[in-house]
């Protein structure tokens, strides 16, 4: 457990705020009554306020403070705006950005951006007002910048609710049930009966492992439920057993992979393969199986490389964990003008959604429209990731891996690379130098472009093009050298780069740098800045990680317990599991959410313990039967008066078909995919990486490409490896039905299952029983057996002249069972 705390205190933040205030005061003349020598004195209320009201307040007022400017907050007008400029420099109209903008005719700069321009007289008045001291009446200022507060529920510290008392004390099994029952009592909803043990074991086995129970397991569980110790003990024992299986980590690892948009390719336009990505996938699965405390799990993924390690194995594990950050999407095909800002946006977007339930990336181009997240908040986080070195997985015009992290002791890695190092350094510094020159020139051009003639523009852009081309060539030289280096074990992982603060990118365009923002956390969540010494030397990732994983963070624990709840019950207590912001939905059971989050933290952030709490509740045990009266009042079952029926997801369908037919290899995939060696890579957007590798392992081990999704996973609502997939859709389409009707894979599994059934020395009825209980978990009723026997007979009769009527008949039965709603849905 990590207990390091952020050094910055609230006092020092106040100092910072006060500092800027002093500057403002100093800028303002002591008496604002002095007026320029015009015929008549400017009066703010009469002359200026109406102009601001008419032209400015829509975007720069109390509701919206575009660019960090509000004309209802005087301090924001005299401080540095997001653009880096000062809206008003008292006494100096020519230095005041306000006047530059209202006069400009440049599309990017002019204010207002649309609609009527200011009249010459209005501009004159503004100019005179600034010259004469920019007097502002002494009304209380509605400050927006320095204290961001929100009374939105998710930003408040967690409450410490006690489980409420309930009318029927015999119903609850654990505190979860008391919260649920109390809410249900409030709205006078009845509750359904408990699910049948067969339904229950199928539900919980799929829920924890993504696989069905075997007929023997069903049998034993039903017996245990009927024994003297009853369902409580049987269920609790079953949950423990399932949690100890490797298939638990595979199932819940897949959930985590959905949220962190795991893929084995980079997503650039050639979709470069990442042969080492699987190490991060296996890190996830292993961590879940070992029940690594969730706070540690987060810290390792954000900053594992910055944690102390006692052994090389521990170092490697923590390095591999940062594959989470490395996993951010890549874009483009060129090493020059490489759009790192998009990769960082993708990082911030995922950290925000997955860990905090916030849509922070909206603030890249403008302050968040709904949540109290400003552009400065975004670039405060941006600096942390801009100070981080991401590995390069290769791209069209740089077809080699770069900055991957060795998984061998550093001296050994250095020794291996020594013969090549000089050349590597020389080629690297050549490339870096050229890239830096290009970047500087691009910025200069962007600055000059507005006022340049077409001819000048052409000259500048020709000059830049020539330099970019040289940088590209330097990149190609480096890439081809890197491809010749000896192989060594490496991870797709991040390291700290050069520590620096980022500048705001105006409207999200990297060529339009604005004000520099110190690295910090969003204001609404405390706004902690890095201590000076750390800001000098470190990216600040570790501090970010520790803050995210802090028990005082109002979001992190709530978000993960809600995600776990959602994957068990089909919907979250907060239905918008990746958005706890103002546009998200409110929790149906706020007290329960906080109680669960508190218990989760108290239990050492143990996910397995969280599962135990949830799965042994009576709420989880309810049947999915409907109650007419409740349907009208709570059709979406937000009060949990029944269990939500759920469709098997894509992985569970495939894995089950293979498991029951005996073709599933249950071993963990510990080898990389047979991706061709790096020295042969020539992937381009014209010939992107498109390989597929057949596998008999569980679906979690199938290679995931970002650009070419497999049809099967598209058909059955598989995860989108480009973005956090909060929950899986449960669509029903004709193409799915065609799959169950005709797909060759499904037919093959049915044929294998048919052979397996025929190998049993048993009667038709016994074999049918085995088939039924294997696929559906329960025994067939007599009338169901009869239907199936009739079907067998009909197929045998029709196929009598064929090669193998028995095989045909049993395949036909197997296929039919796979098509049942009872197979596809969990009650």
């Amino acid at each position: 457990m990590f207990t390091m705390k952020l050094q910055l205190t609230s006092e020092s933040r106040h100092l910072f705020a006060a500092g800027s205030f002093i500057v403002i005061v100093a800028c303002l003349p002591a008496g604002t009554s002095s007026v320029a020598n015009t015929t008549e004195a400017i009066e703010f209320a009469r002359d200026i306020q109406p102009i601001l009201q008419q032209h400015c307040l829509d975007c720069h007022g109390a509701d919206e403070q575009s660019g960090g400017i509000s004309f209802e907050d005087r301090s924001s007008l005299f401080a540095e705006a997001d653009s880096g400029a000062l809206a008003i420099v008292v006494g100096q109209p020519s230095e005041s950005d306000l006047l530059k903008r209202v006069r400009s005719t440049n599309q990017d700069d002019q204010m207002p951006p649309e609609g009527d321009r200011l009249s010459a007289n209005e501009i004159h008045l503004l100019s005179e007002w600034i010259s004469s001291g920019a007097s502002w009446p002494e009304t209380p200022s509605k400050s927006t910048r320095q204290s961001v507060k929100s009374d939105h529920w998710s930003f408040q510290p967690m409450s410490k609710p006690e489980p409420p008392s309930v009318k029927d004390v015999s119903w609850p099994r654990n505190p979860i049930d008391r919260f649920v029952q109390a809410r249900r009592d409030d709205v006078a909803l009845a509750v359904v009966a408990d699910a049948d043990p067969v339904v229950l074991i199928r539900r919980v086995t799929y829920g924890l492992t993504g696989l069905p129970p075997t007929p023997q397991e069903v049998h034993d569980f039903v017996d245990a439920c009927q024994s003297s110790t009853g369902v409580d003990a049987a269920l609790s024992e079953l949950v423990d057993r399932l949690l100890s299986r490797p298939s638990y980590g595979e199932r819940w690892g897949r959930h985590w992979m959905d949220w962190v948009r795991y893929a084995d390719t980079a997503g650039d336009n050639s979709d470069y393969p990442i042969p080492q990505a699987y190490l991060y996938r296996n890190y996830i699965i292993d961590s879940l199986n070992h029940d690594v405390p969730f706070d540690q799990f987060l810290i390792e993924q954000l900053a594992g490389d910055l944690l102390p390690a006692e052994t090389q194995a521990q170092r490697n594990r923590q390095t591999i964990a940062t594959g989470y950050l490395a996993m951010a999407r890549r874009f483009g095909s060129l090493v020059e003008r490489y759009p790192w800002h998009l990769t960082i946006e993708d990082t911030i977007d995922n950290v925000g959604r997955t860990m905090l339930g916030l849509t922070i990336a909206c603030a890249r181009c403008h302050d968040h429209k709904f949540d109290p997240i400003s552009t400065r908040d975004y670039y405060g986080l941006y600096g942390i990731f801009a100070s981080t070195r991401y590995p390069v997985p290769g791209l069209e015009l740089f077809s080699a891996q770069r900055d991957f992290v060795p998984l061998i002791p550093e001296p050994q890695a250095t020794e291996t690379l020594r013969p090549y190092q000089e050349k590597t350094n020389q080629l690297t510094s050549d490339l870096e130098k050229r890239l830096a020159e290009c970047e500087q020139l691009a910025l200069d051009i962007a600055e000059k472009l507005k006022d340049a003639s077409v001819d000048e523009q052409r000259k500048m852009s020709d000059k830049l093009d020539a330099m970019l081309l040289k940088a590209r060539k330097a990149g190609e030289s480096l890439a081809s050298h890197l491809k010749s280096l000896p192989d060594m074990p490496t991870a797709y992982a991040v390291q700290d780069g050069k520590a620096h603060d980022a500048r705001v990118q105006i409207k999200g365009e990297p060529n339009r740098p604005g004000a520099e923002v110190p690295r910090k956390l969003p204001d609404v969540l405390g706004g902690h800045q890095l201590p000076d010494d750390i800001a000098q030397s470190d990216s600040g990732r570790l501090q970010l990680a520790q803050w995210i994983a802090s028990p005082d963070n109002p979001l992190t624990a709530r978000v993960i317990v809600n995600r776990v709840w959602q994957r068990h019950f089909g919907t979250g207590l907060v239905p918008t599991t990746s958005d706890f912001g103002l546009r998200g939905e409110a929790p149906s059971h706020p007290d329960l959410l906080d109680w669960l989050a508190n218990e989760f933290i108290r239990g050492g952030w143990s996910l397995k313990q969280l599962h135990r709490m949830i799965l042994t509740s009576r709420t989880y045990r309810l049947s999915s039967t409907d109650l007419e009266a409740n349907l009208a009042l709570d059709p979406n079952n937000r009060m949990h008066w029944k269990f939500n029926r759920q469709r098997l997801d894509a992985e569970s369908i495939r894995d089950t078909l293979m498991l029951v037919s005996g073709s599933l290899d249950l071993r963990m995939q510990t080898e990389p995919y047979p991706i061709p060696p790096q020295k042969n890579w020539t992937y381009t957007q014209h010939h992107p990486f498109k390989d597929d590798y057949a596998s008999d392992r569980r679906s979690v081990y199938l290679m995931t490409k970002r650009l070419t999704a497999q049809t099967y996973f598209q058909t059955f609502d598989g995860p989108d490896p480009n973005v956090c997939t909060s929950s899986r859709d449960e669509s029903i389409t004709a193409l799915q039905a065609l799959y169950f009707a005709n797909d060759a894979f499904l037919h093959q599994q049915a044929e294998r299952f048919a052979r397996h059934l025929q190998r049993q020395p048993a009667s038709d009825t016994q074999r049918l029983h085995l088939a039924f209980v294997t696929v559906l978990g329960r025994s067939p009723l007599d009338e169901e057996s009869e239907l199936l026997l009739d079907h067998l007979a009909a197929v045998r009769k029709r196929a009598a002249d064929g090669d193998d009527p028995e095989q045909l008949a049993w395949s036909s039965v197997s296929r039919s069972l796979f098509r049942l709603n009872e197979f596809l849905y969990l009650d």
Partner: protein, 450 residues
Amino acid sequence: MTPTSLNRRSMVRSLLSSSLLLPGMLSELLAADENPMRPRTPHRQATAKSVIFIYATGGVSHIDTFDPKPVSKGRDGTGPDKLMGNIFGAKPNKKCGTEVSNLFPHLRDVMDEICVIRSMKASHFDHSEATLGMHTGSPTFARPSMGSWISYGLGTVNQNLPSFIVIAPHLPYGGTQVYASDFLPAIHQGTRVLPGDNPIANLKPPGSTGDLQELEFSLVDAFNQKHFGNRSHDSALAARIHSFETAFQMQKTAPEAFDLSQEPEHIRRLYGLDRDTKGPGADFAWQCLVARRLAERGVRFIELIDTGSRPNWDSHGEMNEHADLALNVDQPTAALLTDLRQRGMLNDTIVVWATEFGRTPTREGKNGRGHHRDCFSVWLAGGGFRAGHVHGMTDEIGKYTVENPVEVHDLHATILHQLGMDHERLTFRHAGRDFRLTDVHGRIINEILA
């Protein structure tokens, strides 16, 4: 007994005979809100009902096609400025006067049906991004495709065929993202169809199992109905029962939609179906004729992609590659317009022809051109667009737009408008905000509407 001998009526009857529901209740259930594909009333009176979106992969040179620039004044690529006009020659259409290069003689003849936009601006300078931009509005982040948005907004009238079909012998840049539904419900994703005998996956039972399908389906239905009987409030279960009926119908109706043997000789000739074609785009006559048949059957959005990520219109070194490609697509594309017109379908079908960006006015390599983002041409026909019209203008070398610039978002907004949808109101709540095809942009280009 073959599956085709079981007709829809007997299938429905077999479903209902074993049903615990009253007859008709099942279909009533499915006609209600639960069916995401039911036809929807648009925001306003629609001009068009469906879209055929023709996508030419690789970046077609505007200068050598629909915005021809002269080679006079020494602009033949040999000068020091490397400027190179249209090297294929050009002529105007006799009726409307729209000038088109000699690469597209057939399309030139039907230019009086076509509205060309010569002032398009691409969303990016590179293929994958610009391709995604043209399809989804976003060159960078994964977003739903235009076809998915339209399917989501309007549903479809033919429940036996997907609402959004992509006929693509090869995948373009951007891969499957080009027709993905992304955060929209999966039912709205494009169904990719390959030219040939098996256009849609899983339309035929493998091996000899087809003979047993009816038997199996009735067994499955008996079980599913019984299962549903105790769970009759769950519309998902009813919808899945229904999906088998639809699948059964699709096995019968979909192959028919793709069966060109039913087309008379004069139509086959019109499209050039039996011409000798080779190289990229060789299947294009098949694609165009199938597109018409799908449009006739009520498919909402049909996309035709002529070539894949390689080889295609990306003529960096040799512009004569354009000639081979044009030869394959010119006649069938023009035939599609003619055929739709003859059948009275052009008025409510929008035909769009687009590519990701144009090509540079300067020569690159031996005789090629580079990527050009600042201006390029797309065209639209039918669906209430202004026939025989040219919108926007580029400078005399085809480098910059000098009049009426059009962004991809504007094109999308205008297509939605003609389908009766307000691009600012066609939204989907995802991850805390309302997303649109046009993001926060888009303006309807009134000048190109009839």
